[in-house]
Amino acid sequence: MPSPSWRHRAFAQWRPALGLLPLGVVIIVLFGGALLLALLQSLGFAPWLGVNSFPDLTYFTTLWSGASFWWSLWFTLYYSLAATAIALVLAILLALCLVQAFPGRAVFGSLSRLPLVVPYAVGIALAVIMMGNGGVLSRLAATLGWIDDPAQFPRLLNTHAGLGVIAVYVWKQLPFMALSIHAVLISAGREQAEAAAVLGATRHQIFRAITWPQIVPGIVSSTLICFAFNMGAFEAPFILGGGFPDTLPVLAWRYFTDADYALQLQGMAVVVSIGLVAGLLIALYLALYRGYEHRLGRV
């Protein structure tokens, strides 16, 4: 190799940037552009609709001063957090089961991955067929003699308790979380746990002192992705939710499809609110996680 001239050195410095360029342009223009537009429009910038009162906070103040917005926010948060927490507990147990060797593990492993690879709408269809008042659970209850009329079966779908919405989220995301935790467990190996067992640790102690710290990074990233997805999810709360007050993404969509074009700005304020709340919670979560890693001495 010839000794690099300054030109070569400058090129070497910029080469990483060059490789990242196509991707950077797409992400910055598309994704960054979309976010910037959402922010501008929620602040009153929409000349194409004949509205330009930028900067204008009234869309936020109008939205945030109505009680129904806070109900919408509560339902959105409640469905997202409840589903993430339930899926996490079930996924940890499933991942721990799947690291054990047992006959049929490979078949079970790939079968249990099925929800991961189908659209959410399939999960919604399954929720309707299982949990509806004429659904399979209600038929089973009748077969067992608990009820003798579909109306006696407790309403699970289309209520603000959101059991259908939560069930779909859990069903779809449990395998994703289990898989990421499982992958961490596999790559961490079992040596430490076995050493601890030889030294007389109980199963409870092994989990708390060894397994848990190993899987925490996998837990944090997968719960983060699922929580953020749930905050912006549309189809499950739209079909299985309890109606007014809707979750925030459904509310935003209703504003957008309203015959009154000016309500689009209100819709953008909803969208930005989703982003703000999700962003704040994610930042808080990551800060807590960083504190935990710090206490463990891993960072």
Binding site: G19, L20, Q100, V117, V136, A183, A228, V271
Partner: protein, 278 residues
């Protein structure tokens, strides 16, 4: 702790429960797709669609699903075309970036990595609604190009991570040896690097294709009802909150790509989906 061949009873019970929860509901879905009359509280239909076929004027059950009336054929073609184009474009723009991220150290690398994973944690509704406003302005709304471009956003983070891991697993020494032994840049790429990267690239493409074919909200918002895919068709069918035989049939068709992927790529994807989540 020795590994035993049989699990504790509690674990076995839990696995059965999980199996019932995750896969069990597909059984009534299959039954429903063949049902003509399935009254409460029967656990099986009292009449199947193929026995009622002669009496009905309109196609029933799978007859309807597979007939042009259901528009399923159109939706499948759209889904595959959009998924394929998204995958190819995504691969083209992610390959060089993944190489850089895997091999180079530079200032701001952590920031770039964080920014590239942002689409995973920014709510889809936010991106979709904002993009729909932009695309209406620039004339991309309701077009294939618009949907494909939008599908890049949620697929890029997965593709970049998978490809970065692939490059990290590839020792650059092989490429250097080839160059030392007289191969030019193109030959080294074609004869050495590519064959070693191929399984990883294939896995990335399959996963990206799957993510794209399962996307609903972006297609729904940007397709403007003009372009239907399998998820949007299924959504329209079940939006009323009930499920007839033809909706069950479409739901099963929507499940097929996933099943095919699980069968074909069990080896390829093994451990990789988990890796994506880290």
């Amino acid at each position: 702790m020795a590994r035993s061949k049989s699990l504790p009873t509690a674990a076995r019970f839990y696995l059965v429960l999980m199996g019932l929860f995750l896969v069990g509901p597909f059984v009534p879905l299959v039954i429903q797709s063949f049902a003509f009359q399935w009254d409460w509280p029967n656990l099986l239909p009292s009449e199947w669609w193929f026995t009622a076929r002669d009496r009905a004027r309109l196609p029933l059950g799978w007859d309807y699903v597979l007939s042009p009336y259901s528009r399923l054929g159109e939706a499948v073609v759209n889904t595959v075309v959009i998924g394929g184009a998204t995958t190819l474009i995504c691969l083209a723009i992610c390959l060089s970036a993944a190489r850089v991220l895997a091999r180079e150290q530079f200032a701001g690398k952590r920031a770039v990595e964080f920014y590239l994973s942002l689409p995973l944690i920014v709510p889809e509704a936010a991106v979709g609604l904002a993009l729909s406003v932009i695309f209406v302005r620039v004339g991309l709304a309701g077009s294939y190009a618009g949907i494909i471009i939008a599908h890049l956003i949620p697929t890029i983070p997965y593709m970049v991570r998978l490809l970065t891991a692939v490059y990290q697993g590839l020792d650059p020494g092989f490429e250097e040896q080839a160059r030392v032994l007289g191969a030019n840049r193109l030959q080294a790429l074609r004869l050495v690097t590519m064959p070693m990267l191929l399984p990883g690239i294939l896995a990335g493409c399959l996963f990206t294709f799957l993510v794209s074919t399962n996307l609903f909200l972006l297609t729904f918002l940007l397709g403007q009802g003009k372009i239907i895919t399998v998820p949007t068709l299924l959504f329209a069918k079940i939006a009323g909150g009930s499920l007839d035989a033809s909706a069950a049939g479409i739901a099963l068709v929507a499940t097929l790509p996933g099943i095919a992927l699980l069968l074909v790529s069990e080896r390829l994807l093994d451990g990789r989906i988990g890796m994506v989540a880290r």
